[in-house]
Amino acid sequence: MAKINRLLKTLYEDPKVVYTLLWMTLVIPYLSPLGLPIAVSPRTKTAYDTINALKPGDVIILSVDINAGAWGELGAGGTAIMRHLFEIPGIKIVIVNFDVQGHIFALRILDFIDKHGKEYGKDYVLLGFVPGGKAVGGAALASDIHKVFQKDFYGTDTSSLPMMEKIRSYKDVSVIVDVDWGQGTEAFLYQWVGPYKSKLIAHMTSMMAPTFEPHYNAGNIIGFIVGIRGAAEYELLAKKPGVGVATTDALSASHLLVVLSVIVGNIVYFSMKRRR
């Protein structure tokens, strides 16, 4: 027993061992999927159903607040949501970003999804970065989209885009979908949902989710897609399993390693303490 304890202590004292094990638990499920079951939570289902119930003419604000660091967690969900939005006939999609890097990832997703015949300027627009921060930028966007964006991301006059003629403020927006690592959600919560009772669906990182969980319980956020797990649920609801589902397998394996490490670490610690 003492020898096993010493071996485990030596292994766990060196972070390289833990990191190597972690890499292995993440890589193996991608190469050979485990196919672990994924149950769909009501909050993801509500988000999916709300988007699915959109009718022709409805206007969506899609805030893509993904940055380079968060792509791993929000990329799959962002793609699944955007793909779903483009499948719904007749809806108008206004894409913005509160994170300065957001448009890069919006463009990356737009590049490879099927647009189902939707045309730029008529059915969707990319307006780009909302300056002014969460409070001022969010409030300005709610009161007059055209004043915040006199030009779209490509430099075209916003007023010359056909679909933007009738989309001017919060009054013209049916639902906000916010794919976010923490920048835009507060802007929409305090500048759209609070004063104007707009409908907000949020997809955010697992790290940010506990901060906004009370807002989902209170009804400020009507649909809540949390992290890669939420993305996997959304992919299953849309019947298009992708990166989210594959990543959930890898994550489950890595979580198992974390739990095992905690247990082994405690056993070694207490047995060493007793021996002393």
Partner: protein, 203 residues
């Protein structure tokens, strides 16, 4: 050959080389990331000023000059002699941000959350949901009891504050668990990109 993906692969491995030790390759990748992020932000800010301030001003919208001048005044903070002038635009910005931030704070952060916590149980027909509401109610009240410092923690207050402490520990544990999950997801995001670049999983 996708050179962008290869560069991303190299930079990812350069960053992860820190696990071994801090090397020149790691520092190169770190500085490159910071430099690119800063440059990108500067270009975005410049584009916004040109699109929304300079171009309308050149077209004859002179009302925007006020905002333009206030923006330039912020730069005066770079000199100690003129630093005081920059406080005016900063005060305006702070005032606007606080004012706009506060207007919905009460309804979003307090009224709706309190009403959701004390929602009548009779309306919740589902037994599990009713249990959830009772749990949230007990958790809220006992946690508030833990932070009650006006009275000595004795009797009922002692019991409820102890329960509140356990609720807080559970909450913080859940928070930490989510942080771990989030970090692992970010790592898995890089892993999948590496595997894609190496052709081990479909792109």
């Amino acid at each position: 050959m996708d050179y962008g993906a290869l560069l991303a692969l190299f930079l990812t491995l350069a960053i992860f080389s820190y696990i071994y030790k801090e090397t020149v390759i790691f520092r190169f990748a770190e500085h490159m990331f910071l430099g690119l992020a800063t440059a990108h932000r500067m270009v975005a800010a410049y584009k916004y000023v040109v699109d929304n301030a300079w171009t309308p001003m050149m077209r004859g919208d002179f009302l925007i000059i006020g905002g333009f001048v206030f923006g330039i005044l912020i730069l005066l903070m770079l000199s100690k002699r003129t630093e005081w002038v920059s406080r005016w635009p900063l005060a305006l910005m702070t005032g606007a941000t606080v004012g706009l931030g506060v207007r919905a704070l009460i309804s979003v952060n307090f009224v709706r959350q309190i009403s959701a916590t004390f929602e009548p149980f009779a309306l919740r027909l589902d037994a599990l949901k009713a249990l959830d509401v009772v749990g949230v109610l007990i958790g809220t009240v006992t946690t508030l009891a833990y932070f009650t410092f006006t009275y000595r923690h004795q009797g009922v207050l002692k019991v409820s504050s102890r329960i509140g402490r356990i609720v807080l520990m559970l909450g913080l544990g859940g928070y930490f668990g989510n942080v771990v999950m989030s970090r692992l997801t970010l790592l898995s995001g890089r892993v999948v990109e590496i595997l894609k670049t190496l052709g081990l999983v479909p792109a």
